[in-house]
């Protein structure tokens, strides 16, 4: 019984990498349209989704993030012409690999959100938070030392 209530209280820590031109602007639009999503989503601005190194994703998990989401321009609309095409390959392979290592596939996600898709941004974040919340705390890919409170 107690476990159930504990699970309910769990709020995941979500790191969202957003490209400056589309998704960050999409997040801005979600803001100016007052489309809410949970406060535990925190955005890091990168020039392009292709700037996101797998190391950053792992770093986030190491530091105790429960979910990592990458948002970029829709394929074909990359401000830097081809950046997100590389992102698409890199992250497809990385996420498949993480899952192969036993990391829950729902913890990682890539979404294409244009500057005009504030509503989509908010929907995506709400859905991702919901998914990760259902999954519970990230235990398989975290460095326990970071949380050491001794």
């Amino acid at each position: 019984m107690q476990e159930v209530t504990e699970k309910k209280e769990f709020t995941p820590n979500i790191v969202a990498f957003c490209c400056n031109w589309c998704s960050y602007a999409g997040a801005d639009l979600a803001g100016s349209s007052r489309l809410t999503y949970p406060a535990n989503v925190k955005i890091i601005r990168v020039p392009c989704s292709c700037r996101v190194n797998p190391t950053f994703v792992l770093k986030a998990f190491q530091q105790g993030a429960d979910g990592v989401i990458l948002c970029g321009c829709h394929p074909g609309d990359c401000h830097y012409v081809t950046g997100n095409y590389y992102t698409r390959r890199r992250m497809a392979l990385l996420f498949s690999f993480l899952n192969y290592m036993g990391i829950e596939k729902e913890r990682t996600r890539v979404e294409w959100v244009s500057a005009a898709e504030g509503a989509k941004f908010s929907e995506v974040m709400n859905d991702f938070v919901k998914t990760v919340t259902a999954l519970g705390e990230n235990k398989r890919l975290t460095d326990l030392r970071v949380k050491e409170g001794k």
């Binding site: 809410t36 601005r45 020039p47 244009s114």
Partner: protein
């Protein structure tokens, strides 16, 4: 030791209503490295900026964090303020506590807590910022206008008048665009050609304008101030420099059954033709898919009769490459295809026509010489029914979700013109809503109702069917809660408009973003409505969103002003946030160059000291900072991490990650 200053903005109540700004500023004071933290109602205001400037000077700040609106709004503002106070502008970071926090969260505690984390994250980043200096790049004093419609013409004329060279690239054989096809223009009912053609002539005669008709943009390289554009000049099989526009070839051409695109295919034209009387350039073009010479190898009549000797069947597409400092996109629109709307019987009934077809039927230079005759039998229609919103405001997937904006006005115009010219004609208009914002617009529409007795029916048409040669238009009259069926002779569909499809390719070439409806995205919906997010690319006309002629012309002139402002500069500051390799760690493996979309990375052989007096020559990457756009694709490809991105270094991003994850 870092000395960080933190400035929390209230943005009036925009932030302060959901984020306890004072608490944020107070809590942040305890952060290592923070020596100053304050809050203010409007940081972006004169006083707010002064507060920042004073704090930088008084506290010898080495970096500042502004907790405010999106960096897309005011990053530049605060960088300027920092610079004015003697701090490198790149030692500024913005924590977006408005769009990403106060505006989306309702709970004060939650939002405040998040704001603190966002500010901490910005502090973590700014601590690793390095002062950066923008480089400079020259500006090519020439502009490219893509599209020769009224938007392109206006932009080109304005830029050219300011003394800069402009090239207009038009894919059709003449400039003029959609406006050239229109009969009258609302709300003044001026003759469209009468006001457009003089501008076309101005273009042709302007010493600073070069019209590249029948041409398309093939490739765009470079960046603001330094675009390198490859243009395909399609073979028109007529030497543009020789053709005098005498039209003898058109008379003599034996193949006269080509559909006349200019008249919306309502009549025919010869294989060799000049699109319309006032075409600019007034030069013929051969439709090689229709021409007998091209199909059978025999004929050659036009060549025989051309006194100027302008006909050249051997002509091939040629390419020219030119450098431009700025690009204006004005690719315009087309009416949507009506394949999804068989309820209106467009495909089955010749007398169901689109509004643009009606423009040609009403136009003195059109297929009927301006006499309104129905296409099926050439009879004068006695009952004309207009249907509005055909394909507009349609979220079912058949049409377009947006309002096409111009249909209410032109339908009123059409209705009025028919009633004016043929008072014996009965005119009905089915409408959902009438949208007439604009100077003298509603008055115009009311004239149709009040003065010209046009029958406006609120309701939509459910189907149009042919019964004994009559077009039965069945729709609802919502005011009377009736279903009505109007036996009509001509049905005019106010068809939705969409961006000219070629805009997709152009958007890709220019790396300009495009929305789900293929409209080009402007940099900011309100404050930068004519700029594309790609620096140096500007948007005019319907390619950016539905609009009428006055709006298009205003936007085109606004583009011109932006372009002139850009070209007037002798140098541009380049983005200092570019990739830089650490040569000592570079393997020279070429992976980074493989992913660079701009060709900014080359390799050089360099000598390195190994210690003990030994040296080694190694192949290492070298980045051209003027060409690099700072996307960072190369940084991830580099396994040794030798390639990093200034302003968004791996360490900076990782420190942001750490700060966010800290619980």
């Amino acid at each position: 030791m870092q000395r960080i200053g933190v400035f929390i903005c209230w943005c009036g109540s925009n932030i302060a209503a959901t984020v306890d700004v004072k608490k944020v500023a107070e809590t942040i004071k305890a952060e290592p490295g923070v020596v100053f933290s304050d809050n203010y109602q409007y940081m972006c205001s004169e006083n707010g900026q002064q507060l920042i400037k004073n704090a930088i000077k008084e506290h010898n700040l080495t970096g500042i964090v502004v907790g405010a609106c999106s960096p897309r709004m005011h990053e530049a503002t605060f960088r300027k303020a920092a610079e004015a106070a003697g701090l490198n502008p790149y030692m500024v970071e913005i924590a977006n506590i408005r769009e990403h926090c106060s505006w989306i969260h309702k709970d004060m505690d939650e939002a405040t807590e998040k704001a603190i984390v966002l500010v901490r994250t910005a502090i973590a980043k700014v601590k690793l910022n390095a002062p950066l200096t923008a480089g400079e790049s020259p500006v090519e004093k020439r502009a490219l206008v893509i599209g020769g419609g009224i938007a392109g013409i206006q932009a080109a004329l304005d830029i050219a008048d300011a003394g800069f060279q402009v090239d207009i690239v038009e894919k059709n054989a003449t400039i003029g665009g959609r406006m050239a096809q229109l009969d009258k223009t609302f709300p003044t009912l001026d003759c469209s050609a009468c006001i457009l053609t003089p501008k076309m002539v101005d273009c042709a005669q302007h010493e600073n304008i070069d019209i590249l008709s029948y041409s398309e943009v093939e490739e765009v390289k470079g960046f603001v101030g330094n675009f390198n554009v490859k243009i395909r000049r399609k073979a028109r099989f007529v030497d543009e420099t020789k053709c005098t526009g005498c039209k003898i070839c058109m008379e003599k051409c034996p193949s006269k059954k080509g559909l006349n695109e200019f008249n919306m295919n309502l009549d025919t034209r010869p294989a060799i033709h000049i699109p319309f009387a006032q075409a600019i350039p007034n030069v013929a073009v051969i439709d090689s898919t229709q021409c007998i010479k091209f199909k059978t190898g025999k004929c050659g009549i036009c060549q025989k009769f051309c006194e100027a000797g302008a006909i050249d069947y051997e002509q091939k597409d040629t390419f020219i490459e030119r450098k431009y400092g700025a690009i204006v996109v004005a690719t315009g629109f087309k009416p949507i295809a009506l394949d999804n709307f068989n309820e209106f019987g467009y495909a089955d009934n010749k007398d169901v026509i689109t509004s643009l077809e009606l423009e040609r039927l009403m136009n003195a230079a059109g297929p009927t010489n301006g006499v309104l005759l129905r296409p099926s039998d050439g009879e004068h229609p006695k009952v004309v029914t207009f249907i509005q919103c055909v394909g507009s405001r349609d979220t079912s997937g058949c049409g377009k979700p947006y309002c096409s904006k111009i249909c209410c006005m032109y339908t009123a115009k059409h209705a009025m013109m028919i009633r004016e010219k043929y008072p014996d004609t009965e005119v009905h208009v089915f409408y959902i809503d009438i949208r007439t914002p604009g100077k003298n617009y509603d008055e115009f529409y009311r004239r149709a109702v009040e003065q010209y007795d046009v029958d406006y029916i609120k309701g939509m048409v459910g189907k149009v069917y042919n019964e004994n040669g009559k077009l039965m238009v069945q729709g609802s009259n919502l005011i009377d809660n009736e279903q009505v069926t109007i036996a009509s002779d001509l049905v005019v569909l106010a068809t939705a408009i969409e961006p000219e499809p070629s805009v997709r390719k152009i958007a890709t070439l220019l790396t300009a973003s495009i929305d789900t409806n293929n409209f080009l995205t402007e940099s900011h919906a309100k404050l930068r409505p004519v700029e594309s997010p790609t620096a140096g690319v500007y948007l005019a006309g319907v390619c950016q969103g539905p609009k009428d002629i006055p709006e298009t012309v205003s936007q085109a002139s606004a583009c011109a002003a932006k372009v002139i402002g850009l070209l007037a500069k002798s140098k541009l500051k380049t983005n200092p946030c570019v990739a830089t390799p650490d040569e000592a760690m570079c393997n020279g493996c070429s992976q980074c160059a493989n992913v660079c979309a701009y060709g900014a990375i080359t390799y050089v052989e360099k000598e390195f000291r190994l210690g003990g007096g030994k040296t080694e020559v190694r192949r290492v990457a070298s980045v051209n900072p003027a060409v690099c756009q700072g996307c960072g694709a190369c940084t991830v490809t580099c396994p040794s991490g030798a390639m990093d991105l200034r302003g968004f270094s791996s360490k900076q991003i990782m420190s942001e990650v750490e700060a966010i994850c800290k619980k």
